[in-house]
Amino acid sequence: MMPRPGDAAVTHDLPLVEVDGLVKHFPVAGNVFRKPSGFVHAVDGVSFRIGRGESLGLVGESGCGKTTVGKLLVKLLEPTAGSISFCFADASGDEAPSEPVDAATLTGGRLRDFRRQVQLIFQDPYGSMNPRRTIYDTIAEPLAVQRIGNALDRVDRVAEILTLVGLTPASSFLFRYPHELSGGQRQRVAIARALVLEPSLVVADEPTSMLDVSSRTGIMSLMEQLARGLDVAYLYITHDLAVARYMCDRIAVMYMGKIVELAETEELLRHPLHPYTRALLSAVPVPDPEHRRDPPAISGEVAAPVDPPPRCRFYERCPQATSTCESSPHPPLEEKAPGRFAACYEV
């Protein structure tokens, strides 16, 4: 069998999610009565696996398609092509997993069961909560929708999870409104809402990027600790490699709808293979005045991937592009060393 991205995750031999050739195109609005003038290839053939309890980082600049991947995974968007299959543990708690579920086929009650297993933490702790509902309503909503317990059980349960995410004493938070909480506290509520159903996978879309430095660290360690305690896998979407370093077991770097490199975190940061990863890494400022960085070897700026040419997406900006790169299609994501995947002809 061909090695696939993610196969080498040593401790996670049973993949929880397997994403294969995921594609999402958005039409570019043409005139009102005309057909779309083109398609933004937001996500273009993305494949990866996430193991049980594993944390995979999805890193890239804005517009690279990382948020779209997240939304596809939680079924807030439907893919143009490609498949996502989940392999959840049986409800009885047996070690043997149930049959893989193809996310595309889920509807009605089965979709509701799916929602129990896969949750999302939003970037914006201000917008992701209904301003007219209390913290209790917000966290108890998944329980109510999934018909778990009665109203009183839910109060206990919400108090329990509030304690767990560090909002203590829980009784003083239960019946407050989101606008009465600080950004960090709201993000804790968002985490509580995502975890109250004990999901197997949580997609976290830049959960700390809108927070202050001081509350950011608290949220990061909380998420890490909860993942260990509850055996939750994360798809951690971020633009910040430094944050990804602390949150993720493996990191996938995206550029214009494609994964260009995927490797174990410290490996990727220490020895980046793909020229884009290298450029990205060398652009990150370092909180040490004595440290001197060289400017990143990259030219130009990211363009929106509207009907891009078939060749390597990074060709125009790549410092080591060759004639092969110009004439060949976008390079496949290949295993260049054990557990290290890169999509580049020159590596």
């Binding site: 960090g184 360690s221 910040d240 430094a242 410290e266 005045p289 990211v302």
Partner: protein, 322 residues
Amino acid sequence: MTGLGLRYSTRQGEVRALRDVSFDLARGEALGLVGESGCGKTSLAKSLMRLLPDNARPAGGEVLLDGEGLLSLPEEEMRRVRWRRISLVFQAAMNSLDPVYRVGQQVLEAIEAHGVEETVASARARVARLFRLVGLDPRVMERYPHELSGGMRQRVVIAMALSCDPDIVIADEPTTALDVIVQDRILRELKAIQGQLGISIIYITHDMAVVAEVTDRVGVMYAGRLVELGETAAVFRSPLHPYTEALMSSFPSVSGEKRRLASLSGEPPDLADPPSGCAFHPRCAYATALCREQSPPRVGRGGQWAECWHPLDPAAVPVDPA
């Protein structure tokens, strides 16, 4: 000109956004101001420019620019100082550009409004020069803001801030909304321009990494006060104030050893009702009864000082705030 003095103290309102903040800024120097949101960084910038909202009123203090007090200047005079002496790079570049005018026109207007150039032709030439300076093709002048990427817009805003040869540029979170590669380029350009034109820049940011890379000196703000000030290298090597240490150790880095991130417990204080004594004491690991009761003294070491009862370096000795 022998280093311009800039001094500022106390602004009081119902919410005391700034309390007795003083620092000086030398010609050609890059000063960083860091702190959590709501610590008074942006209020400070607005106070310097006298661009405060109606409900804010300065309560004491003085801003001296080359010995001239800015807070008492008549509005007419202040308008001359603003932009020609001190200019501002806003955080949200999209919001500070008018979407219905070409970007070149907008920079041109800033130049004409302040009468820096005699003729339209020379003003246009100046805009072209400025665009090249910030790394933009002068042809970009003819484009509208929405046609530009975030990085290009930020460059236009920087060009605008530089348009009247200011002595001081205040950059309020200049790269927060940008991707790292673009951020890197803009910071490098700002640094190059600073050296080339000999201007002073005040960077206002929450990003310790940016401060470490671009500033000569750094001031740490907490609850409307400047709690530590010193050479950037010295502050990073050995901070005096526990808050500075906490900020630095909570900041992740991609390089070096992966160390444990310390998290700061609690929330920033309510400025309408700040804690007694040292405002940081409820969150401070070293706090004692003394910190709760009395405002901390200023202690220093070399050019670096902090306001703390228990500075992290015991060698620090009390210094006179003047």
